[in-house]
């Protein structure tokens, strides 16, 4: 393997480590579904556990440029989505389709290579497509909603009074200070490990050296345990935020003259307090939108054959190191055509329904403040603000909608702001951390694939033209004539996509986020700093700001 291949090799290994267990869980779940459906059991909770895992596999595959896995995971996601809404389609044929897909996915992930034969995946995706298109909407589909048991979120805060005696109140700042000290410990460990390796090279093997090695390894394990214990201490159940919603929904619905029921779930899901503090506002925004714009008036609902009382769901669940929050309603859904029309008026190419998904349009600033869309489509007030707040937390937001059936926003958030899973890249001899949440794919930069249009690099990416900016130019570190760089990272957030040319892909790392000293001013492109495993300091790039950077950057 040439030196060029190495960065990908390392990343591929990370990919398999993360995705193979997920793919296997998915495959197992499909088998269980088949068994339970045959026994006449709807197995709703098994079905509900799948989209998140599939989404993670899809996202990671996309990031690695592994199209077959991405496509298969995507097809399975679609199939599961339909099955969740249509219990009557949970038959042997569906189960067979899922089981086959699960097996294929595991096989593909296990082989993880950019040179996979795409044919089996393509054949399977076509099979799913045909199965999906054979769907006929039933007159009423409220059935599965009733069957699902409703868990009550929130409220459990008051429980456990008998435990009160062993509970200590701690100022959150002290937990921050502890994390700081732990960070120092982790770096000191890295220094120690480095010193050990140097010593081993100098002196050769010895018994004392072995003992030192064991101590260094043991110390690392201890520190890691301390880290996870400390991180847990910083977490609070999301019910601390959910708690305010029952009252808010009642009041808003009353003011609107609508009957709306709030169903909460997953209130026990833990989240870092720093995330919770900044989550409340966007959630209020989404729930208010759902009631004010999403819900039809009672008589309209009745005529449409829906229960007069609307349902808003607020659900959270932990998912592969992140927390997924879903805000959904059974209202009128988004008027996709009106949104596309409006987007076009804003100069966006809204026509191509295949290549520009709705989610890339709905979070556009101009669009969401537009009066006309909000009355026509019943939605769209300040969604750019919501998306901005979620992205600032290192999260993502996605929307699904069906006319007449409702809208669902899915938020994926990091459990903590203190530690961010990042892709480490090298640009002009410096290393930088890019939050993985906003990394869509890493691509080898073939010189002939990047064209210059109006002195800006442009390339084809998934059928679209995207701007590829030079990392050194964006960061202001490049020289007069930037050296050709070997990779680019496609960043995506808020419907914007942009490539960033980098010299090297170093690997994945969970980085402990540290702030910026006021002495450093307010750099646009840097959101914080961190210390890498080798003790070097790296800047954490503000992917959202770089994406927003427009013409200025690069």
């Amino acid at each position: 393997m040439s030196e060029d291949e190495n960065p990908f090799g390392e990343l591929l290994q990370d990919y398999v480590l993360e995705c193979l267990p997920l793919a296997e869980q998915v495959a197992d779940a499909f088998v269980e579904l088949e068994r339970r459906w045959r026994a006449g059991d709807a197995a709703d909770e098994v079905l509900a556990s799948l989209p998140g895992r599939l989404h993670t596999v899809k996202g990671n595959s996309a990031m690695m440029g592994l199209a077959p896995m991405r496509e298969v995971a995507h097809a399975l996601e679609d199939a599961c989505g339909l099955l969740r809404q249509r219990p009557e389609r949970r038959d042997d044929a569906a189960a067979g389709l899922l089981v086959a897909g699960g097996g294929l996915l595991v096989e593909l992930v296990r082989q993880a290579s950019p040179d996979l034969d795409p044919a089996p995946a393509e054949r399977y995706v076509e099979r799913v497509r045909q199965w999906l298109s054979s769907d006929v909407a039933p007159a009423s589909d409220t059935q599965p909603e009733r069957r699902r048991t409703e868990r009550r979120g929130g409220g459990e805060g008051g429980a456990g009074g008998d435990k009160a005696a062993s509970v200590v109140r701690v100022d959150f700042r002290r937990l921050d200070a502890m994390l700081e000290v732990l960070g120092e410990g982790l770096i000191q460990h890295a220094t120690l490990a480095e010193a050990y390796r140097g010593l081993a090279r100098l002196t050769g093997a010895s018994e004392e050296l072995d003992r030192l090695d064991q101590a260094v390894v043991a110390l690392q394990k201890t520190l890691k345990r301390l880290e996870s214990t400390l991180m847990e201490t910083r977490l609070l159940p999301i019910s601390t935020v959910f708690g305010r919603f029952p009252r808010m929904v009642r009041d808003t619905a009353e003011a609107e003259g609508k009957r709306v029921r709030l169903v909460q779930g997953g209130g026990e899901t833990p989240l870092d307090k720093a995330v919770l503090d900044r989550l409340s506002e966007p959630l209020v925004h989404l729930v208010t939108n759902a009631i004010v714009h999403g819900m039809e008036p009672g008589d309209v609902r009745r005529r449409a054959g829906k229960p007069e009382e609307g349902t808003v769901r607020l659900e959270a669940a932990p998912q592969a190191g992140r927390v997924v929050i879903r805000v959904s309603d059974d209202g009128r859904g988004l008027d996709e055509r009106a949104i596309r029309k409006k987007a076009e008026a804003l100069g966006q190419d809204g026509r191509n329904e295949e290549s520009i998904p709705l989610r890339n349009l709905i979070f556009l600033p101009g669009l969401s403040t537009a009066e006309r869309v909000s009355t026509l489509a019943g939605r769209g007030v300040g969604l750019d603000v919501v998306a901005g707040a979620i992205h600032a937390l290192g999260g993502t937001i996605d929307v699904e909608t069906a006319v007449g059936r409702g809208t669902a926003f899915t938020l994926s958030l990091p459990v903590t702001l203190a530690i961010v899973r990042s892709l480490i890249v090298e640009i002009d001899q410096e290393r930088y951390a890019l939050p993985l949440a906003h990394v869509a794919e890493t691509v080898r930069a073939e010189p002939e694939a990047i064209r210059q249009i109006n002195q800006r690099g442009v390339t084809q990416w998934r059928g679209d033209l995207i701007h590829v900016a030079d990392g050194g130019a964006v960061l202001g570190t490049g020289g007069e004539r930037p050296a050709p760089r070997r990779f680019y990272v496609v960043m995506a957030a808020a419907g914007k996509r942009r490539g960033l040319l980098v010299d090297r892909l170093v690997g994945h790392q969970d980085v402990v986020v540290k702030g910026l000293d006021p002495e450093l001013g307010r750099p646009d492109v840097v959101s914080g700093t961190t210390i890498l495993g080798d003790g070097r300091v790296a800047c954490i790039l503000d992917t959202v700001r770089i994406l927003e950077g427009g013409r200025r950057a690069g």
Binding site: I187, G476, E519, L520, C539
Partner: protein, 173 residues
């Protein structure tokens, strides 16, 4: 109004040379209240800050550049797990930039609860100077916001420019 650091620097050095010539005639003063200073070299001159503001002096390790940071910021370094912003004191005070030599050091200071690194050409020593040897800096080198020179100590044929770090460094938010 932006401060013209470069011009300030020239005037500061000119003034220092002048003082140097006059200080050569001085003899040891009588004992009295003393200032404990950490002194360091920048360009051709000796500067001093109160030792109470100094946490430690470290060698220059790897300093990471920070994109879009102000020109006088050299970057950030890892101080035992803490991120330390390192200020290039030369450029902050308007002196000409220079290559780092092996004698260069980072003086870690704590000013109003903030810990910062100051990159200096070389660190001399901790010096005690009598309070009485400090004369105020002349009006003409103090202009507007650049009044970070609190005075000049003339002591045993040395001339130490006393810095007020609170003023020399960016204000806290």
């Amino acid at each position: 109004m932006p401060v013209d650091h470069a011009r300030m620097g020239d005037r500061l050095l000119g003034f220092a040379d002048d003082m140097d010539a006059r200080a050569a005639a001085d003899v040891a003063a009588a004992p009295g209240p003393e200032l404990h200073l950490l002194t360091f070299a920048l360009d051709r001159e000796e500067f001093g800050i109160p030792v109470t503001q100094v946490r430690e002096v470290i060698r220059v390790s790897e300093i990471t550049r920070v994109p879009q940071a102000p020109a006088h910021v050299r970057g950030v370094a890892n101080l035992r797990g803490r991120i330390l912003a390192v200020v290039e004191l030369r450029s902050r005070l308007g002196l000409a930039p220079a290559e780092l030599t092996p004698r260069a050091r980072v003086v870690v200071v704590e000013v109003r609860g903030r810990v910062l690194g100051l990159l200096v050409d070389a660190v001399s020593q901790v010096t005690k100077v009598p309070q009485a040897s400090v004369v105020p800096a002349p009006e003409e080198v103090l202009s507007g916001e650049a009044d970070y020179v609190t005075g000049v100590a003339r002591w045993q044929s040395r001339l130490i420019i006393l810095l007020d770090l609170e003023k020399a460094l960016a204000p806290t938010e």
